[in-house]
């Protein structure tokens, strides 16, 4: 039964990686921008929740709700005032500016919060578990996966059922023609990054409650998110969830063999997929 347990834990872990990846996938899908500071923004949101919890004594879930509009505003402003200037055919400016941003956020957090490991406490919920047939699963990991699915359903609804979603898709296909139809691509881009930061806040809640975090762990989260996106195939949010689960399962199996191999096993799974299915498991976008 041990292997079944490992698979279940891996799937649940995959939910967390899908949450990391959904924001990255969203931003890339709409404006072809790869944000190298994505992982650091997740850590920034985790610190924001931590501050709200410790300073105001809020419940972490309430704190995340409070943090969402703040992160939306940060994302909106970041895109509107900084990242929009970097968009274009040249890939250098967005990459180098977001890389610089990653370093700035990391060191800003180090300066403000030191390098100490932190954790957001959810009042005993982190150790709660429930029986699911023959195996026990943690309540928090289960909530993480459920949130990931809810986020993906929500984003898909937003894309295909609302006028904002139509504007998103139009801008993604052809910003200039969309502009002729009265859509302002720069504002659409800013809203996209704002929404991505709301997803990032949800990811940060589970990152901060499930394990310790410190200002330097952002880049590793970026890498997991990126791997999930590539494994799933560009442009497919459900593919991203599948990608996250592939990495999650690979990591839990790696850890079951030797704890030191956990991270390496996830990366190797990514390389294997890249080798046999270079366009990912569920490719949709052409670029």
């Amino acid at each position: 039964m041990a292997w079944l347990d490992t698979i279940i834990q891996g799937i649940l872990l995959g939910g967390l990686y899908a949450l990391f990846a959904a924001g990255l996938s969203l931003v890339f899908g709409i404006m072809r921008l790869v944000n190298l500071a994505h992982g650091d923004l997740i850590v920034l949101a985790a610190f924001l929740i931590l501050v709200l919890v410790s300073a105001l004594g809020l419940n972490p879930f309430v704190a995340a709700l409070v943090a969402m509009p703040v992160m939306f505003a940060i994302g909106w402003a970041l895109q509107f005032f900084l990242l929009n200037r970097t968009l274009g055919t040249d890939i250098l400016p967005p990459l180098l500016v977001t890389f610089g941003l990653s370093i700035v956020i990391q060191n800003g957090l180090l300066e403000g919060f030191t390098a100490d490991s932190r954790r957001i406490s959810v009042g005993g919920l982190e150790s709660a578990s429930m029986a699911l047939g023959p195996i026990n699963v943690g309540v928090m990991p289960l909530l993480t996966l459920a949130s990931a699915i809810a986020v993906i359903v929500g984003l898909n609804q937003l894309f295909y059922r609302t006028s904002l979603g139509r504007a998103f898709r139009a801008t993604s296909d052809d910003p200039i023609t969309a502009g002729l139809m009265g859509i302002q691509p720069k504002r659409i881009f800013a809203t996209t990054t704002g929404i991505a930061m709301v997803v990032v806040t949800i990811a940060a809640l589970y990152l901060g409650t499930r394990a310790n975090f410190d200002p330097t762990i952002g880049p590793a989260r970026l890498i997991y998110a990126f791997e999930a996106v590539i494994i799933g195939g560009l442009g497919s949010l459900w593919g991203t969830l599948a990608g996250g689960i592939v990495i999650g399962i690979a990591q839990t199996f790696g850890a079951a063999i030797n704890p030191e191999w956990q991270i390496l096993a996830g990366h190797l799974a990514f390389l294997v997929v890249l080798l046999v299915r270079p366009r990912g498991l569920f490719p949709r976008a052409v670029d």
Partner: protein, 362 residues
């Protein structure tokens, strides 16, 4: 008249500034080789740091600035070169100097399989993919228990002390082995920096360099006139891996102590290098030289401020990328028209009346 005068046309890249710069540079290089005669050990160590960072920056600039391959995973080759050197010295008992060269070759060999994976990813995804590769190499080498696993190891003292080259340098300058070590590594760093700049310059002036510039500016157009873009990019990627691996091995001969986290540090070997190139001016040979000097000055100025230093460096990088994407050297060259390493081909000579013609089309 036609036949005779047409034969006087010449395609040149040399400019007046570059010709006089060549003389100054030669004198400067001679002075730099003589530096151990009058410079203190701490100055030599600082120069070693500047020169090795310059080599890393030139290699990254070749990748990102000329081949359009924006890698944030070059620490893979710094670390792999360093570990290959340690393995050759500790496990095979090789002389560290020979090990440096072999470590460079080992890094280029590592680049073959990684290129196979990475070239499946386009543009921005290439960047993060290169980071994944660096993580894989780091995690794999951290499993190598003979070289200290996750905590790392040191070079045996007798290996670094008993190098034949070290005895020679020590006798030449009448210094102890630790002082001779600093002189030797400094000279090697100087040689490596000159060779790197020389080779990059030669490449850019060659037919291949022209093809590379064409691919960077417009890949489809370049391919339509017969430039094999993929082959050019692969060659540049392998060459940069070789140069970066050599630099990594040399840096760790001087450090004499290695650990996976330090040897594969994305901040030390990639972030700093990117900032050096961006601040100095990406896509020029002069840029990284200017950048490394600015970087060194900033580091000394802000050394006491800890993480503020990196934060400020990041902000400067962002501002330059947004408002002066050509960097400091680019701003200077734009205003003065001076190029120290000119690669642009110009037509000179020909009939005097044509060459000297002014006016809107002259």
């Amino acid at each position: 008249m036609t036949d005779v005068t047409i034969s006087h046309w010449k395609v040149e890249t040399r400019t007046k500034a570059s010709a006089s710069f060549a003389i100054v540079a030669t004198l400067f290089i001679l002075l730099a080789f003589a530096a151990p005669l009058f410079a203190s050990r701490s100055v030599l160590q600082d120069l070693f740091f500047i020169l090795t960072m310059l080599v890393l920056a030139q290699n990254w600039n070749l990748l990102a600035g000329y081949a359009g391959l924006v890698s944030v995973g070059q620490q893979a080759f710094v670390g792999f070169g360093a570990y290959a050197m340690f393995a050759l010295v500790i496990l095979a008992g090789l002389d560290p100097l020979a090990a440096i060269l072999l470590a460079g070759i080992a890094s280029a060999l590592l680049a073959i399989p990684t290129a196979f994976f990475l070239f499946r990813l386009q543009g921005a995804y290439f960047a993060i993919g290169s980071w994944v590769i660096a993580e894989v190499v780091r995690l794999a080498l951290a499993q190598w228990k003979m070289l200290g696993g996750g905590t790392g190891t040191s070079l045996p003292r007798e290996a670094t002390r008993d190098m034949p080259a070290l005895k020679f340098v020590g006798e030449l300058f009448g210094v102890k082995s630790s002082g001779a070590g600093d002189i030797l590594t400094y000279w090697l760093a100087l040689l490596l920096a000159i060779a790197t700049i020389g080779l990059v310059y030669r490449l850019l002036r060659s037919k291949q360099g022209l093809g590379l510039a064409a691919v960077r500016d417009n890949q489809e157009a370049a391919r339509s006139v017969g430039v094999d873009a993929r082959r050019m990019k692969t060659l540049v990627y392998l060459a940069a891996a070789f140069g970066t691996g050599l630099a990594g091995a040399l840096i760790y001969v001087q450090k004499a102590r290695i650990s996976p986290d330090a040897a594969f540090s994305v901040v030390d070997w990639t972030a700093y290098v990117i900032f050096i190139v961006v601040i100095g001016g990406i896509g020029t040979i002069e840029g990284p030289i200017v950048g490394v000097i600015v970087f060194y000055l900033l580091q000394n100025l802000l050394a006491d401020y800890g993480s503020w230093y990196l934060l400020i460096l990041g902000l400067i990088g962002i501002v330059i990328m947004l408002f002066a994407p050509l960097g400091l050297w680019g701003l200077f060259a734009e205003r003065t028209g001076i190029q120290l390493f000119p690669v642009r081909r110009r037509l000179t000579g020909g009939p005097v009346s044509l060459a000297k013609k002014g006016g809107p089309h002259g």
